[in-house]
Every structure is written in structure tokens, then in C-alpha cells.
């Protein structure tokens, strides 16, 4: 029996949407108030979905302790209470939630060995969310 397990994690981080390839006017036009040079922050809800056969012995797709350990170490510790713009993955990429989704997926795809990573969904606010499935 194949099932999909989703766990939600919260991180708080700041960012500024800005591209060096654009003029100040273009940055302002495209990114609006998100281009404020001092940045701003969000409580991001990161939903990690893994899938696989439900183990007959344990009744689990994967052990939650393993999932929490990997996501805690690789994602929460990396991003929580950080300025996303200062991280290497956002040196050249604008830290939009689209790009954060892709970064989180790529890190977890390498780190999760005990189940299949199905998708990463991030809520930037209650009103918008982004999904990436590889």
C-alpha cells in the first residue's frame, strides 16, 4: 500500500527581492515593496511530502524521527532566523519563495534516503503558496 506523508515545519527568515541585472527603476517596478533595501521577513510554512510503501512491520512510510532529523538539520537550522539573501544559493538567485522551494527540494532530495521525496510546498503567507516536485 502506497501512502503519502506530509509534515509541516515553520521557519522565520528575512529576504529582499532584488536583481543586480536590473536597474533600480526596473527592480522597483517588478518587485515593488519587496525591493525595500532593508529587507522584510515571513513565517514560512514548509510542507514536505514523502511517499512510499507502508512498512508491514512498523505501519509507517518512514520514521518521523528520521524525517524530523533531516529536515531539522538540513532545512530548519539552515534557514530559520536567517537573511536568505546572504546564503550562497541566493547569491545569484533572487530569494523568491519559488527559488526557496527549489533549494529546499534539492537539499532534501539528497538528504532523504528512507523514502521518496514527493514534493515541497511552501506557504509564504496565508494567502500564497508554492509547490515544487522536481
Amino acid at each position: 500500500m502506497k501512502a503519502y506523508l506530509t509534515r509541516r515545519y515553520m521557519i522565520s527568515a528575512s529576504h529582499r527581492l532584488h536583481s543586480d541585472e536590473l536597474s533600480p527603476e526596473q527592480n522597483n517596478e517588478i518587485f515593488g515593496k519587496c525591493n525595500n533595501p532593508h529587507g522584510h521577513g515571513h513565517n514560512y510554512m514548509i510542507e514536505v511530502t514523502v511517499s512510499g510503501q507502508v512498512d508491514a512491520r512498523t505501519g509507517m512510510v518512514c520514521n518521523l524521527m528520521d524525517l524530523d532529523r533531516v529536515v531539522g538539520k538540513e532545512i530548519v537550522e539552515r534557514y530559520d532566523h536567517q537573511n536568505l539573501n546572504l546564503l550562497p544559493e541566493f547569491e545569484r538567485n533572487v530569494p523568491t519563495t519559488e527559488n526557496l522551494c527549489i533549494a529546499v527540494y534539492d537539499i532534501l532530495e539528497r538528504g532523504i534516503r528512507f523514502a521518496h521525496l514527493d514534493k515541497v510546498r511552501i506557504e509564504e503567507t496565508m494567502m500564497n503558496s508554492f509547490e515544487y516536485a522536481g
Binding site: T6, V54, T58, G59, M65
Partner: protein, 138 residues
């Protein structure tokens, strides 16, 4: 007319614990941690049942919500609400009542009873931050 998906939610409160008789006491504790406490602990579960089908030309319904609610109550909630899952729900005499197995058990209870619409997904929330989806896949 295309397929439309309809989701109905319900809540139930139940207790459970995780323990495999095939494992030693030490292995159970290592694998399941505090969920292994034999006295059990509880959750407010949310059950989400999604059915799909064509919209009936006369009623405008995919399914009669009243009937769906009655089936969910009779087949799942009456069996699981305010119960100790390990001791009072037959499936969990042999299966560990993880969220995965609760979703599968709910699917198996509901699927044969739904006539008009087809069961698409069962989602069970153990907490707001942990849920399992089951689509009837082998």
C-alpha cells in the same frame, strides 16, 4: 461535463500507541520513542474524504452530502471516535494504528459503501502539522 471533486471533513478524537509484538521492548522504544507508551496518548484527528464524479444534471451534485456524511459517521467515526484504537478497532488488533494505517483503514471502510461517487482520496490529519494521503494505490 468533466469530473468534479468534493471533499467532506470530519473530526474524531482517539487514543493509540505504537508497539510491534515482533520487536523487543528495547527495539520498540528505539523505533517508536514516546509513542510506545503502553498507556496510550491521544489526538484530535481530522478526516478528509474526497470523492469524484460527474455532476448530476438534475441535482447539480457530485454526491448527496447528507449520504456521504452518514456513511462517514457510520463506517469510520462511530468505530473510531472516542476510542482507544489499539483495543477497540478490529483492524488495529494486528496493525499498528499509525496515521498511514488509519487512512488505509478508513479507505477500506468507505470505498465499498460509496455508490454514486468514486472515492478519490482519504486524508487523515493527526495534528495540523502531520497528515497522510491515501489514494487506494497498491
Amino acid at each position: 461535463m468533466g469530473t468534479v471533486y468534493l471533499t467532506r471533513k470530519a473530526e474524531f478524537a482517539a487514543s493509540h500507541y505504537y508497539h510491534s509484538p515482533e520487536l523487543s521492548a528495547e527495539e520498540n522504544l528505539r523505533l517508536f520513542g514516546k509513542c510506545n507508551n503502553p498507556n496510550g496518548h491521544g489526538h484530535n484527528y481530522t478526516l478528509e474524504v474526497t470523492v469524484k464524479g460527474a455532476v448530476d444534471a438534475t441535482s447539480g451534485f457530485v454526491v448527496d452530502l447528507k449520504q456521504l456524511k452518514e456513511i462517514m459517521n457510520r463506517e469510520v467515526l462511530e468505530a473510531m471516535d472516542h476510542r482507544f484504537l489499539n483495543k477497540e478497532v478490529p483492524e488495529f488488533e494486528t496493525l499498528i494504528p499509525t496515521t498511514e494505517n488509519i487512512a488505509i483503514a478508513a479507505w477500506r471502510r468507505l470505498e465499498p459503501k460509496l455508490k454514486a461517487a468514486q472515492l478519490h482520496r482519504v486524508r487523515v490529519y493527526e495534528t495540523p502539522d502531520l497528515f497522510v494521503d491515501f489514494y487506494g494505490e497498491a
